[in-house]
Subunit: 162 residues, 2 copies
Amino acid sequence: MNFIIRVAEERDMSQVLQRIQDLAVYEKEPDAVKIDERTLKQYGTGENPLFTCFVAEDDGDILGIALVYFRFSTWVGKSLHLEDLIVAQEHRGRGVGQALYNQVMRYGLEQNVSRVEWVVLDWNTDAIKFYQRNGATILTDWHLAQINEASLKEYVAQLDSN
Amino acid sequence: MNFIIRVAEERDMSQVLQRIQDLAVYEKEPDAVKIDERTLKQYGTGENPLFTCFVAEDDGDILGIALVYFRFSTWVGKSLHLEDLIVAQEHRGRGVGQALYNQVMRYGLEQNVSRVEWVVLDWNTDAIKFYQRNGATILTDWHLAQINEASLKEYVAQLDSN
């Protein structure tokens, strides 16, 4: 491999943000990324970070990222969530995604988690096949439920007005 | 309301575990709960807990629970995950679920999250309708991907043997 895998530092966050935007475009949501470099520095570095970001670097270029954090399952306990696994389009086929995925699994085992979990879009068959080849099970009977920031504010305001 | 909503303490975890087991039975996975009371105390109390558990209590009885923790979305930033919202069968219809849900939304707003997220089984239409009536959007185009503990160990062992 002509790249290294390491934990992201503050100076990487500009390129990490670019990879996140690459993925949003690929997922057909080009305007979905509301965070900025500052958000990544705030929550991804320092004393009690909300996430750990692994990067694949080749001579200063961030080829790909894998961003993870811990969760708590009431069935199995401490688990690791893989929020994003992203490889820049022009660096596909170099084993970057596989190396980042393997790093996440090694990290999960080191940290004694009982599960690694993530989500995948149902039409992303290449990703689904990759995950199935690499030990994962795909669950199709769960839906995601979300309240976004605007709906959250509206909902609580309406509670307070009653 | 003849119950109060408060944060769970160590002494509540035995009943919290019972509610978790209630939900596993309801979700047709009666043997899924591998954690015990000690796990809940370890990760739900102390300095840097992995989760916060709200309970609805009536004179020592834990009628229901809502267990939450923070996540990080690369689209919207800090978010709150609702892992479980559970009401004991014999205490349905008293507004316990609604009160716990409202508490979660207030907490999310207080903590400045940009999203509250959870998952729901596709056949649980009562829950889906409740969530939709209460500000949530249901996303049906994502699948969950998981590697359980045994598969994780096997996967990493196979990496190390190559």
